[in-house]
Symmetry: C2
Subunit: 136 residues, 2 copies
């Protein structure tokens, strides 16, 4: 018997080249409004969060050529970049991942956007998926 | 003023080679249980849905070599494959996409897994993201 660590899909992150164009498309097509915008210097991105129920679509664009998102766009093009899961305790969730053979990108939780505490898990030991653990 | 068409992130779909191994990893790492399994002949996949609040992680593996997911795995490897958004009316949401320059893969809504009605939207006119519209 296990206790679910993931309490919500916090966001799906979509890497785009033109943030304004992407925001506009989601707004006029789906009526999805921007709840929050932020430049995250640590990650070299500007992000816009669009509300979908208790989750977000996170549109992310690179703010510098050497950011991971810029390299991702060059290598794979626009599209789904990572998934963020909301957790009650980021440190505990990160430890659970490490204990089960997962590979942490962030060895310890660190500040994310909109005041969250986050840690990224490497896709190489997570079936190809870049996972972000998000504690509000 | 627009009305939000997307009422929930229905699922994030993750293409994997070994469905049992992926299910086991999500269970032991995150305590995520399988709520539903189904072979979807139309799409050439077997899927397992893991519950996260009102959403799902959809693990998908190919059931035949010529399925789109098999080709995706060959071309891009394991990882995030598409995102499914829950909508009240799949036909109306699909029409909204078409009206705004989106490109439908399914010209009309069709049966999806677990008794849903679905339509896929092509990534080429949606910032690289394969989008599924899901009506329960």
């Amino acid at each position: 018997m296990t206790t679910p660590l993931l309490t919500e899909i916090d966001h799906v992150a979509i890497a785009v080249r033109d943030l304004e164009a992407a925001i506009a498309w989601y707004r006029v097509t789906f009526g999805a409004d921007v709840a929050h915008r932020e430049i995250v210097d640590h990650d070299g991105v500007e992000e816009a969060l669009l509300v979908v129920a208790d989750s977000f679509i996170q549109l992310v664009a690179a703010t510098r050529d050497d950011s991971p998102v810029a390299r991702y766009l060059e290598r794979r093009g626009e599209g789904l970049h990572h998934v963020g899961y909301r957790v009650a305790d980021c440190a505990a969730a990160l430890q659970a991942v490490k204990d089960r053979g997962g590979r942490a990108i962030d060895e310890h939780p660190r500040p994310g956007s909109r005041g969250t505490t986050v840690a990224f898990v490497h896709p190489s030991a997570a079936f190809g998926t870049l996972i972000e653990l998000v504690q509000e």
